[in-house]
Symmetry: D3
Subunit: 131 residues, 6 copies
């Protein structure tokens, strides 16, 4: 098979199950989404990625919702279909209202437009921005 | 000249000056950064872009700093040098602390990594995410 | 019709068939994948692209599998669904094991993360790297 | 040296010189820009790339200026600094006026914005567009 | 629901209907494609985006077809599936022949290739291009 | 200051120095490049990123040079200037010859071209590639 299949809980090795258990406990859910079931084909990448996500996305100076919005903004810019679907759902779970979604999309669209205007006009960085 | 030059205030037409004045009044500053001076070569794009930015970046359900962080996240993903420099400065002005910057970068990096893991493993969108 | 259809072998002109024959002979297969059937709508682009691919992907100092891994890495970074599917299959045919796939994805993910950390932190190129 | 240097005409091998001569004859200029001098480190890629560019960018159903505008639009979207500089100059040589440049940038900016709005809102392709 | 649904004409508020009416009148069609029905969840973004598109894509120094080709070129570079489908159809409506499509794709492919050759070889911008 | 400065060894905290020491020991060098000095502003991201890089880039089924070539291919596709410079140097240290560099660039360019041809022609994934 060209692509590796999804690893279900019942078929998972103990170390993969340990990560699955931690994902469900941390997220207070009873299921695992396909991203992790795919990564489970590489237990080391699964564990590393989950631990990184767990640490990075935990509330810090920025709250969990704001971090999720940033994650979604990047996924939309990168045109990653799976990521947009999964992180839109995640942001909803963390409290993204319709209004927040609307404002987020407007900012993401605007940033992508102005990024190209800046490049196309070959704008040089202002001295003040280098301080 | 291949590229259009920057339009300084003293050389600007009345309609460009009107936009410059509004930028400075809105931002409570006494200078105009190069992005706008370049766009001023196209007064219609200058006016449209500024009005869009002014509306979109104004505090709404999301506060001004959160919007700026999202803008910066997109600019970093797109590798736009000018935009990263200018929006890092803008975020600083709106209250981005060193801690917020650190957390922002960690999320942006993580999102860019996991976007490619999702694509590379050809992960299919979970049914639950389609609801 | 908005998009051009696929050109099947039996419907192809002699010059398109000549390219199809060369693709099958070179790859030692008896079928043509959709990418070439789509390009066949532009025989000149079909011929040019195939000749470029044939030359560039042939074993040189780098072996055929390594070249295919690089091709797949780029396709994953660019989030090109068709390309990821076709070049994952191609890499499998050239000997990509599950272990190689896992390592490849880990490197691609890591590179995409660190690319943005470098940009976001506005890291300047070290003098030593300019030598 | 980490990066390969530029190959000047006087230091070039006969086959590289032949490409340089053809570039200058085709473009009716007496100099070679750095892109080609860098590619000259790989005479086969130099020759292939130049022949492809020569064929693709020649006036066809689309005139030379329109093709150059498309090239520039892609370079701006990709944030390629060298390419933006060189293809802005090339478009100028082929007749790009200030007005055309302004309109081009507006379209490129708009397309980059709406691309992300389409992705972020997870818009499904209309049946009519599949015909 | 994670994602916002499409807003049909009969369910739309008066201000959304006004935009829909203007889209159909401007385009001389009797239907609205999904992009606008999705944006209608944010009437302000709908109105702003439509007005921007209407102004930017109207014939100016560049004709409507050339602008649409540039839009499509950007969408292809960004790998935005919806945008490619909708703007291919739009370009067809504005007169894109099969030959134009073929030439457009060849230029877009070439530009994406040479953009990376320029970056990978770390080509420095020629002094002449800075003038 | 908008951007965080570089953290030199003599100014670094003990935990940052520990990472620096491990980087130099692992790489058998006596200096630290700017990427790490910038990340040192966030000791947690510094440590996590270094440990990830150290694990992922270590020889496995793929050797260290092949991994570095993949890293460079991604950086070139993403147009990340710093990353291209630093990973070209790293690849040189790991044995990248001029010939390997030439072949790598040819593959990266080709992949970026064909990725857009596949998208632009809206090529559907072959059933065989889904197996």
């Amino acid at each position: 098979m060209a692509t590796l299949g999804m690893i279900e809980y019942q078929d998972a090795s103990p170390d993969v199950r340990a990560v699955y258990d931690d994902i469900m406990a941390t997220r207070k859910t009873d299921w695992i989404n396909n991203f992790w079931k795919a990564l489970a084909n590489d237990p080391r990448t699964l564990k590393r990625t989950w631990e990184d996500v767990k640490q990075i996305m935990a509330p810090g100076t920025l709250d969990a919702l704001t971090k999720e919005l940033i994650y979604l903004a990047v996924s939309v810019s990168n045109q990653c279909g799976y990521c947009i679907a999964s992180h839109t759902a995640a942001a909803r779970n963390k409290g993204m209202s319709d209004d927040i979604f609307r404002e987020l999309m407007a900012v993401v669209g605007m940033a992508n437009e102005s990024n190209r205007l800046a490049s196309g006009y070959q704008v040089e960085i202002d001295e003040r921005f280098k301080l």
